[in-house]
Amino acid sequence: MDFTLDSHQEAVLEAVGTLLSRHSGPARLHDLGGDEPGYDHDLDKRLAEAGFLDVAEPLSTCRLDAALVLEALSGSLASSAAGWRLLVLPTLDVDVEGPVAVVTESHSGPARFAADADALVVIGDDRVRLVRPDRPIPRVRSRLGWPVGEVTGLSEGGALDGAPAAAVRSWARVAVATEMVGAMQFALDITVRHVSDRRQFDRAIGSFQAVQHGLAECSVAVDGARWLALEAAFTGSASTAAAALTQASEASKLIFRRTHQYHGAMGFTREYDLHLATLRLLALRSEAESFGRPAAACAHEHWGI
């Protein structure tokens, strides 16, 4: 057990951090369209060139470094499907150049990145398919901070022999949990800054115990989600993956309500950055649900119920 970064992880995160500080972040997301952004192909290109999208060893079950990179990406509000590439594709022996989307076989409706994806990873009950769309997938107007496409009538074919559906679904859970952690930490940090600066009744509103307790619980919830997601990425355990996603989903409900509440009206202006992170959480939570109710998956993984 070691809860601190080793020198390699430190170096990777420092380099990723430098790249993200220049080419990602809320200002970049505003440029891409804010809560209705386009896909950041430029960022993907830079990440790929620097080798950050290949930090997970193919087929290895230890993807901790990849999860750390993804957490940083998500915390910078990147408009990128790099999470799928970092944590899901290494389980599949496939070669895809551009962005991918991940959906389940029964999916019908909006899906993150579908309109921009070169390929869709389609998770079934006991098989996984890689579907390369034969015609463009239409965009959906969505204002939850992600580029979204409309997935209907998935074409047949593309079955990947021997690809473990359960493992792919599990890694999808780790990816979504990790992305939620990055976005939640962004929302929490910006809120802590706000309540520390904003004064009413001659005192910082963050000095009121009602606000302090609310944010302390948020922080405990996010920390729990973070360490479970990292542990799941390290061990590759399906039960820890389900727990990580459950914790992240539950935490995201607290974060959504409380960070907005403590911002007052400022929290629902488009000029301010908070909504860029919080709205994303709604999309991520719906995606989490599409892989099966997280808490039910957790109960299933532990007791077979």
């Binding site: 057990m1 070691d2 802590v192």
Partner: protein, 380 residues
């Protein structure tokens, strides 16, 4: 960063598990007693003796006092395995985790010689004389007076919510030795024999299982000056340090996870159907235990590195309380009307979860500490 156990820790855990499977009858906790009850405390004398023979009662103590200088991770494994079997050490987990270490850190050679060997042998029960009727969460407002008279302190006052007061041999007692000083400065720690004349112990029936608290009334109780732990009037820093040992010494998440596991298995064995609402509650509760586990591990990692106590311990405490409560909700959802049966899992867990957010520092105080020290939110 990595989350593997060492081979050494793994084999220690499996050795412990084998021992516990042999020594503890299945579900002994539910059959006999709950933590805090007199039955449990008596049981602990036998059980702690067995642990002591194995060198597992005080493995983290220095070899000088019968320990094996085990690492914080081994101690964590020990705590986890014992708490997940209902903590058969009973009150003695306090002795070994913080009363003993506190005596080691601040005791005179005579005090160490007198008090540590019985703790290491598992043969003694201590209680803690902290709370008073007017000093609960605000512990530093305590008023029990100790006045010097020759070689003794003469102690007058009362203590409340003292677990094991009726069966303990000694009390780790907080008293005020300087009434004029700023309130944190006039406090001292006395190691008081529970058979001291002038001490009256009154039980207060509790609703947390068979547990009962006691109230201690002290009237001109004489405690030798030689029994003062640490310097006079500096008891506050002595006890604060002692309690920092306590925070992660009690991995309540492990006990909660055990109760949840037993309740789910019980339902499955009896062929009861588990509806989707209960499945959801069970998954959320299991997750809360897992999150608390990782947040405790983060603290143990800091301890293993010899870092000073950090607010991560408060974060872990908050998560453990939440886990206890969510497990209570899940047990109730699983068992339905079984909660009406006294001693059912849902009944017992409901009771224990009530104490979780109060005992050893309230949930709200932990949130205060998380917001000020971890999030660095401003004070008024």
């Amino acid at each position: 960063m990595e989350f593997d156990w060492t081979e050494e820790d793994l084999s220690y855990r499996s050795e412990l598990q084998d021992f516990l499977a042999e020594e503890l009858p299945g579900r002994w906790e539910g059959a006999t007693a709950v933590l805090g009850s007199a039955d449990n405390a008596e049981y602990s004398r036998r059980f702690a003796g067995l642990l002591a023979e194995k060198g597992w009662l005080t493995p983290h103590w220095p070899t000088e006092w019968g320990g094996t200088a085990a690492t914080p991770w081994m101690l964590a494994v020990l705590g986890e395995e014992l708490w997940s079997r209902g903590e058969p050490r009973g009150p003695q987990y306090m002795n070994v985790n913080w009363i003993g270490p506190s005596i080691m850190a601040h005791g005179t050679p005579e005090q160490c010689q007198r008090y540590l060997p019985p703790i290491a042998a598992g043969d003694v029960i201590w209680c803690q004389g902290f709370s008073e009727p007017e000093a609960g969460t605000d512990l530093a407002s305590l008023r029990t007076r100790a006045v010097l008279d020759g070689d003794d302190y003469v102690v007058n006052g009362s203590k409340i919510w003292t677990s094991y007061g009726d069966i303990a041999d000694h009390c780790y007692l907080l008293v005020r030795t300087d009434a004029q000083a700023e309130r944190h400065r006039g406090i001292s720690v006395l190691l008081m024999a529970m058979d001291s004349p002038g001490l009256v112990v009154r039980p207060i029936p509790g609703m947390v299982g068979e547990h009962s608290f006691t109230e201690l009334f002290l009237t001109d109780v004489r405690v030798p000056v030689a029994n003062r732990l640490g310097p006079e009037n500096e008891g506050w820093s002595v006890v604060r340090e002692a309690l920092s040992f306590e925070r992660v010494g009690a991995p309540r998440w492990a006990r909660a996870a055990y109760v949840l596991d037993e309740t789910v298995r019980g339902a499955l064995e009896q062929g009861r159907s588990i509806d989707p609402v209960a499945v959801e509650a069970v998954g959320v509760a299991k997750t809360a235990c897992e999150a608390a586990r990782m947040l405790c591990y983060r603290v143990i990692d800091e301890r293993a590195r010899d870092l000073p106590p950090s607010p991560h311990a408060n974060v872990a405490r908050v998560a453990m309380v939440q886990a206890e409560r969510l497990v209570a909700d899940a047990c109730a959802a699983l068992e339905g009307n079984e909660i009406m049966r006294y001693g059912s899992d849902s009944d017992l867990q409901m009771r224990k979860s009530l104490a979780a957010g109060v005992a050893a520092g309230t949930y709200e105080v932990q949130l205060n500490l998380v917001s000020r020290r971890h999030l660095r939110l401003p004070k008024n």
